[in-house]
Every structure is written in structure tokens, then in C-alpha cells.
């Protein structure tokens, strides 16, 4: 009697549990499926396709063909009909160097801005952040044209640079690698200001006073009490700036001139000019690998500076 009672109860429990599991599964199905489908359809499949293309042969009209080969990677490394040329290697190195310069410039400009906004009255802060973000609501191409007008030969800035002897007469600051650095930095400034501001805002100003009270000079108070606490924001900003800057197409295309090409332009040309899809795909893969290496390095740096904490995503 009691035995059968227990069994009934157990089966009741099992039933309840399986019902819960079904409900859980249905819940997952509805919440996860749209996102997963989106990612598979528009990220995973195209990436697989791109990788496949990179290992195919270039056809007569620039479209990929069988058989599979490593031809495009050889071309990317600089081996062409006329023997080896360093052009693509230079483009890669230039991309890395421009990314480094632009990121450094953004850090130098954004750090004081973010600090200043965090010290402003609370009611003004959203407005000031908006002022930082608003330019990025304008089309990239239009902003690049704006810089052309500012830096072209004969403009006040160019004349000033000439007077200082920084550039040869009538050369102008645009087109040049300098213009590209400036354009990249300008473009990605908000991506650094926002995470830095978030870090500064969390900071208790009493900590700065505490550091000074504990015999730190103003500089030491900054270095030991403030800077380490803004590091997560800084590194997040570096990742947010450096990755898109590395793959940037518009800015080097418009401001760089013939010698300002970056990896993004190399890839784009292979597809748009219809000249060589496999080479373009190989370039895209190279960009992906470089980005992953960069991210990995940032994680390591973040972990070391953050005292073993995960600082970078």
C-alpha cells in the first residue's frame, strides 16, 4: 500500500521534472534560435565560403575556380608573374603601423577628454558625451572629405606646416600617411572616450585625496591610484579602436593617396575591381589572423597589468 504510494509520488516527481525540461527546451528554442540562425547565416557560412575561396584558383574574370591551391597565399606573400615584390608586405606593415599610431593618438586625446567630462557637473555630462559621439552620426565619406578640405595644399593648416618646414612646398598635408593617421584617430575617438569615461566615472575622488594623504605626489597619486583603475577602460578602448582601424577602408582610400593603402584597400580592390577573389579572400583571412593575435596579446597584457584579473573581453 505504502509502497505503491511512494512509486506514484516518484513518478509524479519525474513527470514534473520532465515537464520542466520540456518547458526549458522550448524556452531555449525561442530565445536562442533567432540569434543563432542570424550568426550561422550571416557570419559562419560566409566565413566558411570565404575560406574556401581563398584556397581556390583565380579564374579568367577574377572569379574563383577549381582546383584548390595555395596560389592566392603565394600572391599575398608577394610572389607574382614578375617574381617577388614587397608591395603586399609593405601594405600589411603599413596597416599595423597606422593602427598603432592612430590608437596611440586616440589614447592621448581621449584620456584627458574622458577625465574632464567625468569631473563636470552631472547634468552636463550626457551633453558632452553626445558632443563626442555626434560626429560619428555623419557619413564616414563626408567626414573624410572634410579632412581633405582641411589638409589639402594651400589650406591654412598646410601652409602652417610648410612654414614650420614639416612638408615640402605645395605638397599639402593631404594626401599622406599622416592624413590617414589623423583620419583614423578622428574616426574612432568616441570608441575610446566612452569606455574611459565609464572607468573615470566609477572612480571615487576620495581615493585621489587618500593617495595624497598617504604621501603620494600628484603624479604618483595619478599613477598608483587613478591610472590602474582606468586600465580596463583603456584596454577596452584600445580593442574597440585598433580592430576596426586595422581593417579600415574609407579613410586610407580617400586620404592616403597612392602610397597610403592599407590591408582593407588591398582586399577591397581584389573584389571590386573584379581582379582576384581568391587573393582578396586570402587577405581577409590574414586580417582575421592578425586581429586574433592582437586580441590575444591584449588579453595577456590586460591580465598582467590587471593583477591576474580578466580586463579585456
Amino acid at each position: 500500500m505504502s509502497n505503491s504510494h511512494t512509486t506514484a509520488m516518484q513518478s509524479g516527481q519525474t513527470l514534473g521534472r520532465s515537464q520542466a525540461m520540456v518547458r526549458e527546451a522550448r524556452h531555449l528554442l525561442f530565445t536562442v534560435t533567432p540569434g543563432a540562425a542570424w550568426i550561422i547565416l550571416f557570419l559562419v557560412l560566409p566565413s566558411v565560403y570565404l575560406m574556401a575561396v581563398a584556397f581556390m584558383t583565380n579564374g579568367p574574370y577574377g572569379l574563383p575556380q577549381m582546383p584548390l591551391s595555395l596560389e592566392s597565399f603565394k600572391q599575398l606573400a608577394g610572389f607574382g608573374f614578375l617574381g617577388w615584390s614587397p608591395g603586399n608586405i609593405y601594405t600589411l606593415l603599413r596597416s599595423l603601423w597606422q593602427t598603432f599610431l592612430a590608437t596611440a593618438l586616440v589614447v592621448i586625446v581621449a584620456y584627458p577628454i574622458a577625465y574632464y567630462i567625468s569631473t563636470c557637473r552631472e547634468k552636463w555630462r550626457p551633453l558632452m558625451l553626445l558632443a563626442v559621439v555626434v560626429p560619428s552620426w555623419t557619413n564616414q565619406v563626408i567626414r573624410a572629405f572634410g579632412w581633405m578640405n582641411l589638409l589639402a595644399p594651400g589650406t591654412p593648416l598646410s601652409s602652417f606646416a610648410e612654414t614650420l618646414g614639416l612638408i615640402s612646398p605645395n605638397m599639402g598635408l593631404y594626401p599622406s600617411n599622416f592624413a590617414v593617421t589623423l583620419g583614423l584617430a578622428y574616426n574612432f575617438l568616441p570608441f575610446m572616450v566612452l569606455p574611459l569615461y565609464a572607468a573615470f566615472e566609477k572612480l571615487d575622488t576620495a581615493q585621489v585625496e587618500a593617495a595624497q594623504d598617504l604621501y603620494a605626489t600628484p603624479f604618483k597619486a595619478f599613477w598608483h591610484a587613478v591610472f590602474p583603475q582606468t586600465l580596463p577602460g583603456l584596454l577596452a578602448g584600445v580593442v574597440l579602436v585598433a580592430i576596426p582601424a586595422f581593417g579600415m577602408y574609407v579613410v586610407p582610400e580617400l586620404l592616403g593617396g597612392g602610397k597610403g593603402m592599407m590591408l582593407g584597400n588591398l582586399v577591397a580592390t581584389q573584389f571590386s575591381g573584379g581582379s582576384n577573389w581568391p587573393l582578396g579572400a586570402a587577405g581577409a583571412i590574414l586580417m582575421l589572423i592578425a586581429t586574433f593575435i592582437g586580441l590575444f596579446a591584449m588579453r595577456r597584457i590586460g591580465k598582467r597589468l590587471g593583477g591576474g584579473e580578466e580586463v579585456v573581453i
Partner: protein
């Protein structure tokens, strides 16, 4: 000259403390810094209208537990920040340990602060927090470690030193903040409402602990609070501030029992203030009736402390015998608080429960006022 006297005072206190306490072993390594502080004519205003300090003169003795007490906005925190060097005075002089430090930046003052928010560095471990001041002063790592170990033992931090800041409770943070300041062996320790963020039980426990630390070190402590009970428990002397001015300086008993004006009386929790309309020798005519005082200090108010009153049932005639009716009784076990109606006004009385008859609401009673417990003061 002053330096010398300070040094003597400090050693004197240290020596006298040594034989009495059982903690002599613990205090042997920590150096007891104790400096006197002199303030003269300190003025500070924020913006055009907000006057924070309006001419403050004050002398704080070496080794004293000195409390700045007052409501919010009275200037007590500003005064403390000027002592720390975190705020600059507009006018006035400041001497710490006989040295004029008014223009000395905070990182060159041998003064440390326990902040209200504790201001611990969240990116550093407890151990690194404790060593921060020593590191900034350029002490070698080995020596720092030793000092940190000493202070950890002194404040009984135990295994807290190996935790991260975000793993600590409020009370633990408070103790770390105290240890972080003490390990620097300052001449003066400043405490800005260090216990205000804690719940009542923990608070009274830490009050006792703080007091013991101060007595054992003989260090000059300047403590800021808005809580008069806390001020009375802790302090050797209290300065009551209001509107940027010092209202009264004195030992807790003086400030509580002989407030120098109505503000101090009210702030210390007294409500029984009555207008004096006429005086004839030691006999005052007041709102409550004729009252005889032992010492008439002048002023148009008389203060009757509720706990000095005695209640007798019925109508008894005599000098300083007032007659009224119980309007309210709050029974608190160890004592009871009464609100009496008499002479068209009210009077608070607190009577200890000695197990005798306790009057009830509606009873007619006679209130006995001792002439020596009356204080006259002005608004």
C-alpha cells in the same frame, strides 16, 4: 621650542602608558607620534556666499582625542580637510607640532586621514593598501612588509590582509582604513565620520576599539562626527561647531552639563529650555515659575536637564518645587521618560526605575529641581 615640548609630552604619555597596559608587547614597535595643533583665525568660504569657517581659533593638545562635533554644514569636515591639507584656508594660521604647515601640501604633512568612505584602493590587495603610504615615502620593501605585519597584528586584522578589498565587509574596511593610516605613524590622525556608515552594534564595538587604539598609542586623534553620543563616549575634549564658528570647547561633561549657549544645549539633546523674565539675586522668575539657582551665569534662558529632576506624588510645597500633571509616559525598563504639563508649558523628566512607585499619566506630581543642576545661558 614647541617641538621640544611636544616630544616630551609624547614620550611622557608613552612611558606612562607602558607599565599600566597588558599590551606593552604589541605597542613596543609602533612609534607613537603625538603633536599639538594650533589654529588661529581660520577662514574659509566656498564661492561667494557659503561660509564654511568663520574665524576658528583652537588648540588641540598632543595625545588628545579631540572631537569636532556639529550638524552637517557646520564646517567640521572643512576644518579637518584643512588639517589634512586637502583644502586651503583663505586666511589664518595652522601649526602642527610647532611647525607652520598652512602652505604645506598634503603629501608633505605627517598627518593621515581615515576617510568617511574609507577610500581604499579597490585595485590593490589589503596588504598593498596598508603599504601604500610607506611605499610612497620610499621605504624599502622588506621594511614595509615588517611594518604592515606589525600593524596587522596591532589592529588584529588576522587573515584579512590577504583578501581583496571587495571581499571585505563595512566594518572590516573601516579597520583596514584605520590600519592604513596608522602604519604611517603620523603625528596626528584625522578621522572623518569613520563609523557613520556602520550599523549600531558594530558601531559601538568599533568605538571602543578605536578608543583603545588611541589610548595605547597616545597619538593625537582629531575626530569628526555629528553624533553627540559618539562624541561624548570617545573624546577627551569636544569642540561644538555651528555656522563655521566654534560654539564651545570642553570635556564631554562640561559640554553636556554646562552648555555655553542654547545651540550647544539643543545639539547635546536638551529640550528643557525656559525663558528667564526677571532675576533677583539667585532667584529667577521663569516661564515655569520661581526658581533658585546656585550660580547665575547670566543670560535669558535656563536649562533644566531631564535626568536631574525628581518626581513626588501629590502636591508638596517647597523651594524649587514645581507642580504639574503627567501628560505622557514612555516606560523604558531601566528608566522612564515623562512629559509633564505645568505652568502652561511642557517639561521633560527622566527618572530611573528604582522599583519604587512610578507615576502614571494623569497623576498630579511635584517636580523637585536642584539649584546646583540649573544652568543659565543665552540664545
Amino acid at each position: 621650542m614647541t617641538d621640544f615640548t611636544t616630544a616630551v609630552d609624547a614620550t611622557g604619555r608613552a612611558d606612562s602608558a607602558a607599565p599600566s597596559g597588558e599590551d606593552t608587547g604589541e605597542q613596543s614597535h609602533l612609534q607613537r607620534g603625538a603633536s599639538s595643533i594650533t589654529l588661529q583665525g581660520l577662514h574659509k568660504r566656498f564661492g561667494r556666499d557659503a561660509v564654511a569657517l568663520d574665524g576658528v581659533d583652537l588648540t588641540i593638545e598632543a595625545g588628545e582625542f579631540f572631537t569636532l562635533l556639529g550638524p552637517s554644514g557646520c564646517g567640521k569636515t572643512t576644518l579637518l580637510r584643512i588639517l589634512a591639507g586637502l583644502e586651503e584656508a583663505d586666511e589664518g594660521q595652522l601649526n602642527i607640532g610647532g611647525k607652520d604647515v598652512i602652505d604645506v601640501p598634503p603629501h608633505h604633512r605627517s598627518v593621515n586621514t581615515v576617510f568617511q568612505s574609507y577610500a581604499l584602493f579597490p585595485h590593490l590587495s589589503v596588504r598593498e593598501n596598508l603599504a601604500f603610504g610607506l611605499k610612497m615615502r620610499g621605504m624599502p620593501a622588506a621594511q614595509r612588509e615588517q611594518k604592515v605585519a606589525e600593524i596587522a597584528q596591532f589592529i588584529k586584522l588576522g587573515d584579512l590582509v590577504d583578501r581583496r578589498i571587495d571581499q571585505l565587509s563595512g566594518g572590516q574596511r573601516q579597520r583596514i582604513a584605520l590600519a592604513r593610516a596608522l602604519v604611517c605613524e603620523p603625528d596626528v590622525l584625522l578621522l572623518d565620520e569613520p563609523l557613520s556608515a556602520l550599523d549600531a552594534g558594530l558601531r559601538s564595538q568599533l568605538q571602543v576599539e578605536l578608543l583603545r587604539v588611541q589610548k595605547r598609542l597616545g597619538m593625537t586623534f582629531v575626530f569628526v562626527t555629528h553624533d553627540q553620543d559618539e562624541a561624548m563616549v570617545m573624546s577627551d575634549r569636544i569642540a561644538v561647531l555651528n555656522g563655521g564658528k566654534i560654539q564651545q570647547v570642553g570635556a564631554p561633561r562640561e559640554v553636556y552639563e554646562r552648555p555655553s549657549n542654547a545651540f550647544v544645549a539643543r545639539f547635546m539633546g536638551h529640550d528643557n529650555l525656559y525663558r528667564v523674565t526677571a532675576r533677583n539675586g539667585n532667584r529667577l522668575t521663569t516661564e515655569l515659575g520661581e526658581l533658585e539657582v546656585e550660580q547665575d551665569g547670566g543670560g535669558d534662558l535656563v536649562l533644566i536637564r531631564p535626568e536631574t529632576l525628581d518626581l513626588k506624588p501629590g502636591h508638596v510645597e517647597g523651594v524649587n518645587h514645581l507642580h504639574g500633571r503627567i501628560a505622557e509616559r514612555l516606560y523604558r525598563g531601566s528608566h522612564a521618560e515623562f512629559r509633564l504639563e505645568l505652568a502652561g508649558t511642557t517639561l521633560q523628566a527622566v527618572v530611573n526605575n528604582r522599583g519604587k512607585h512610578m507615576p502614571d499619566v494623569g497623576d498630579e506630581v511635584t517636580v523637585l529641581v536642584a539649584p546646583e543642576d540649573l544652568v543659565t545661558l543665552s540664545e
